[in-house]
Symmetry: C2
Subunit: 233 residues, 2 copies
DNA sequence: TGTGACGTAAACGTCGTACTTTTTGTTGGT
DNA sequence: ACCAACAAAAAGTACGACGTTTACGTCACA
């Protein structure tokens, strides 16, 4: 999945970002702008803009007289959805998926607790609708439809928490769920227990039961982690 | 606090980012690259590179025939440390500080629990050293020294958790603590209770008591949130 | 009067080139 | 062995030209 439509900049950025995230250019390797321009058959202008963006993500560092050097993983802006997408497409998807799932297990229970206090009636209704959608698509190889409702569900919870930082994690969660559904890191049909938990979570939020919402979300997270342990090495 | 050394690019980026984060350019406002080039007295080349970076942070969107339009807050990459710095320097520091502190209250307890299981002896030693440093600087207007140890302490815990996503939140926490210490959102001397909690947390991690580590970190977070309630409107 | 096709100009996108600045490796002398 | 001056390499910056998309106004026609 590339970023968006045409545009030389987009193409070069996506290609280079993907390669670096995949480890094809180990940390310390230097890339010269002239070479890149030649390789992609674009002007140095385009390459420089790409390098500037990669630099803002801390994937590379540009220094005079030396070139564009690839930075070690520890320096990367791993919360940038773009970087996450690149990494999930690359080699260490398992590690990445696990890190992100642990992150979810820390955030989402708290967010759900807040959502139980702050959710508007509209959000509660949308949540219930998503839960029902998950039930309806939980059988018979409708993984894509299920995924859609699942993403929407978690996004609503994060938004309803009222905390901006939680809300903005919706994209990350979406990437995780999507990356998990594709790439065969999931059973053919979703875990029935997880479906039930989502339904009950929607109820808990609607009734304003913060403790229950937090507990149920923790259970969902535990299930997701366990699923990873089983299906990923 | 600007980004780094000289360089036209850096200056323009920092100025524009700061202005947008401060809300000086409301969402929907269009900036033309030619005007920006004139205003900063730089070439369009430099402006274009800056715009590309701003675009990668989703602060602006560049479209043909219309210009560079400022995007609404909901679209921004609020986990980018650079964006966080800009926002903390701007108008809605209180809101931002609260969001980030809630985020910390969700993450750090889990991270501390993991750290209690995974921390190396070296990390435990460093943690204890930081805690002692906090004690030593907790009285007599040594806020800068205290801040330094505080940041180091939390960074070690996040790193020791063994989870990459947690570890990379160290920069965010550092920004929060720094932004809180400067800007008078803190008492003249740190809360003695907080200092004690840090010392006990270092012990809990050293002894591998995950439950205690998680509980103590939660208490620290509650204290920080309470402090915000008292000192910020 | 309303509507749709069409043309135009405004703004970004891309390119090529020339020049500047910083950094680094090397050379040469003591 | 050390230090200083020099030269080259690569990014940084500037400028001007042209391409490309697309919003918007205009005009003809119903």
């Amino acid at each position: 999945m590339t970023t968006q439509g045409p545009g030389l900049h987009t193409h070069v950025l996506d290609t280079l970002g993907l390669e670096i995230a995949a480890g094809e250019h180990p940390p310390g390797q230097v890339l010269r702008t002239d070479e890149l321009a030649q390789r992609f058959d674009v002007s140095r202008t385009v390459v420089r803009e790409v390098v500037r963006v990669l630099e803002s993500m801390h994937l590379v560092e540009s220094r005079r007289r030396v070139g564009v050097t690839v930075r070690p993983t520890e320096a990367w802006n791993v919360y940038d959805p773009q970087v996450i997408r690149w990494r999930l497409a690359g080699a260490d998807r398992p590690r990445q998926l696990r890190s992100l799932t642990v992150l979810r297990s820390a955030i989402e229970p708290v967010a759900a607790g807040l959502a139980a206090r702050n959710a508007t009636p509209e959000q509660c209704a949308a949540l219930t609708e998503c839960a029902l959608g998950m039930v309806a698509t939980s059988r018979g190889q409708q993984l894509e439809g299920y995924l859609e409702h699942d993403i929407a569900f978690h996004r609503i919870v994060l938004n309803a928490s009222g905390n901006e930082m939680f809300a903005r994690l919706g994209d990350v969660v979406a990437e995780v769920l999507a990356g998990r559904t594709h790439h065969q890191v999931m059973f053919e049909d979703p875990d029935p227990a997880a479906v039930t938990l989502h339904v009950r979570l929607a109820e808990a939020v609607r009734e304003g039961d913060a403790a229950a919402a937090e507990r149920l979300t923790k259970e969902i997270a535990v299930g997701a982690l366990h699923e990873l342990d089983v299906l990923a090495p």
